[in-house]
Subunit: 299 residues, 4 copies
């Protein structure tokens, strides 16, 4: 018995490296698959709306496609990888100490791979639809452009600076709300409703912050499919279009995510009373909360 | 031990004033941030629909923008401020004893500030979109009016009297339902679903009571962004438009909220049996409720 | 002590009649108010879509208006009246022993009153919108007919026989599903999600069984507002239109509800095993259910 | 006592065959009824959109009709049959050991019968609407084709090979996500939200993978109504249309379902640690999950 316990607390270097490699495979596969699922549903909804020309859904279908896709991805990656599906989320988690920095490359690569494969799958499934729509002429710009099925491109009126602000802001709102939804001392999403609420959040960002540049708010979601289109027939125009737009949804969300999460921490999380008063018991109802506030302030 | 307990029940004036100031900062920051979040999503959805001219969502996107925005705001303000996000809600809470009157100015100011900042943020993010849409001519009326992205304006057929009724009624329905959703002796929203249900309620009001004047049903939601437009380039027309419409969504909701909450109390809450029979245990199913009603009435 | 217990089990006639009268007031007020709330949101959404002429929602907004209206009505009537809001539901509950027959008139009258008052409120709030839309000419038929904002009318192609089938079938589907959602030995709606699921069910019926005649599937929902329009200016045409359509949504749902609920009982509820095996513990997941089925059948 | 226990563990052949026959009736009736409910709502939404010509819903109404129809079907079949409602689901459950093979014919026949009867019911309810729409000329192809109300047909551009890929892929995504939603060692749907999440999954597939061929992703859903149309007046064209399309949604989903479920097992389920660490206690929040990952990997 004694030896066994020793071994379990002091694993040999071999055991540790084996467990780590196993863990990396385990987390990497789950993160790849959940990103793949989210992206198949998201990109599929764009493909359907674009090639359907109004007969198979409108802009709101795309919002639902990405929103519900995120919700289901949360169940696929689940407790194995945490289902970030977004490099800006993983990066912010590292900055605020919720993910080890050494895991970041694994998350980046898994998300990039999942997004790339999803783009390939959606292209395969919609191959005939896309070629029927554009007459076989795969372009990144123009009336029958199809590259925007896979990666985001800015509206004609948008400057690079305006687009940078747009992507910083959208991702800041995403992370700000994710922080609130997981703040155990405030009013977090209940067990069982996290995935749906995160999905509704992404739906909401698409509804309110989507028209400037297609709400990438996610470096890997945008770069993976853009790389796919570059090699699958659309060529290097996918990097040139929109004044070289491609780097904006890669860089800006990393900054925005950290800012948004930090803003929530600065304005709300830091001020939670240290005592356990506020986080005891189940979530209080509106009435109890108000009365509680009332009571405390009358002291 | 004895001294410690004494101190905790009889804090010195200094301690009390310190705790109060802390509490004010804490509640004010949370109420400001949750109102900001709700308004960014709400106003963002209007900006997108208006400047998108049909390509990026329709009227129902705006209903979803405000509805889901309220749901997420509930998680941001959560247990810290109760996430009223609406001066008519805070006022009704004071009238019915769920919030101390001395807290009301703090809630008003926080909500006004959050709404003002949200209007500024949405203007910044949609700056190029709005100027592209209206040709740089910021107006409160006319074919390319953009002031309605931020504050509400009445339909052409609506009189001030009709609009006043509209705002009293819409806010009455809001507070009536909020009272039901938080009535622990009836069938309240379960822990974990309050925010979603409140969001669906706001979505529903937009779907059914929105076309007369844009369902402000919230003084601070309307006044904050109107003030922003007044200083940001739209000028004093934002107060003159609609026969001087601006004061209606400020005053009428305060009255409507108190009436609606009172109606629920008068017709339902007052009649709950004093004994704990009705509120014991978990929520009963339709079947049990019906059988229960049946049994009691056969006595 | 002994006397008190006796009294509580053998209340005098006076006490019993007092409690009964109190209970009638209590249940009647709650049923009236929840029906009122459901109908204000439902009729309001029709008024908005009709007078908005496409700018403030489409047919699906009406489906959402009634669906979410039912969900919120469930919280208002809640445990007090059970929130039937529908004479066909109350009637079926009596037929299957879940409501005392002597309560039926109270439910009918409360639902009729709530629906009538809701029609009046919606007319008041949309008075200027409706008169602007139809030029002050209140009609039940024709291009600018507005009576259909309040009560249902059949499609031009629909015969009375076809409409009768339509209303029997729609209400049968409603009650069949309500029975399933409240069957404690099967997979009922969990505490806290009943109202939302019932709302989604009504939304679904509007999406799939609504175009023939406007899915009244509810005698009181249809008759109350029709009576209101008859006295408020539309005249007796509201009873003559559609070949005297008015009685179909009053009679057919009563039959359909009983048939639908009975069908569920006949095909599913009757066959539950008498032992408590199947209803023990929390709801099983898909996996457990399937394995369980598998195991039992391999015995 | 001893004899009773013996009997309960060693039932005679007669008792066993009786129980089995009972179980078959019980499961068969429930599976038939839940499939019927799902299909009435699904096909009803198509009938409404097609015959309504834009006035009673758009493509997204059909997505909602099938999605919410599946959610309600889950409550009808519930714990009795598991509410597969889809031969590809039942087949995959058998392949992966969650359903006894000998039950498969019962599920197939029940699902086929439920779908056939639902098609008949929808035709009866929409009889006048359909004949008014197509002028009494029931066809499977052409501008006023109505056979697509009941069964799926491919888009004009789609080859049989492309359609086969489409159906394999769509059903693979369905089963992959169903596996995740029921994986107790990952992040399964909580009790009470399974039906809604499965409904949202079907809604999502309609939004993102529906335009190529109408997302049958279900052999019995497609074959039952197709048989109905063949005998009800559309004739054998329903089998000839689309280059003899009919067999694709029968065969391809069977393959796709097994592949998708297998992919989830291969990439996620197989790698769960054998110890109970990962599945202990309630579902962890985003924060805890991330910290947990972080901690484990720092070992």
């Amino acid at each position: 018995h004694h030896e066994m316990r020793l071994q379990s607390f002091q694993p040999s270097l071999v055991t540790r490296s084996f467990r780590l490699r196993n863990e990396i495979v385990r987390v990497g596969l789950a993160e790849t698959l959940c990103t793949y699922v989210m992206m198949v549903f998201g990109l599929g909804s764009v493909a359907q709306v674009v090639t359907g020309q109004g007969a198979f859904g409108h802009y709101i279908s795309i919002n639902l496609g990405f929103g519900l896709g995120v919700a289901l991805g949360c169940h696929v990656g689940g407790k194995v990888s945490g289902a970030h599906m977004n490099a800006a989320v993983s990066f912010a988690m590292c900055v605020y100490g919720r993910l080890a920095w050494k895991m970041l490359p694994l998350y980046f690569l898994s998300q990039l791979l999942g997004s790339f494969l999803a783009a390939g799958s959606v292209y395969a499934v919609y191959y005939e639809a896309i070629h029927d729509y554009c007459g076989g002429n795969l372009t990144a710009t123009g009336a029958k452009a199809t590259a925007a099925i896979f990666a985001t491109y800015p509206a004609p009126y948008l400057s690079l600076f305006g687009g940078f602000i747009d992507q910083v802001f959208g991702t800041a709102m995403l992370l700000l709300c994710l922080m609130a939804l997981s703040d155990q001392k405030n009013k977090p999403a209940e067990a069982g409703s996290e995935s749906t609420l995160v999905g509704l959040l992404v739906l909401l960002i698409g509804i309110s912050l989507g028209s400037n540049s297609g709400y990438a708010i996610n470096p890997t979601r945008d770069l993976g499919p853009r790389l796919f289109t570059a090699v699958a027939g659309w060529g290097l125009d996918v990097f040139r279009a929109g004044n070289g737009w491609w780097w904006v949804p890669v860089i800006a969300p990393m900054i925005g995510g950290v800012l948004g999460a930090g803003l929530y921490k600065l304005l709300v999380e830091l001020h939670h009373p240290p005592r356990s008063e506020n986080c005891a018991g189940p979530i209080k109802t509106l009435e109890e909360t108000a009365q509680n506030t009332d009571t405390e302030l009358r002291v």
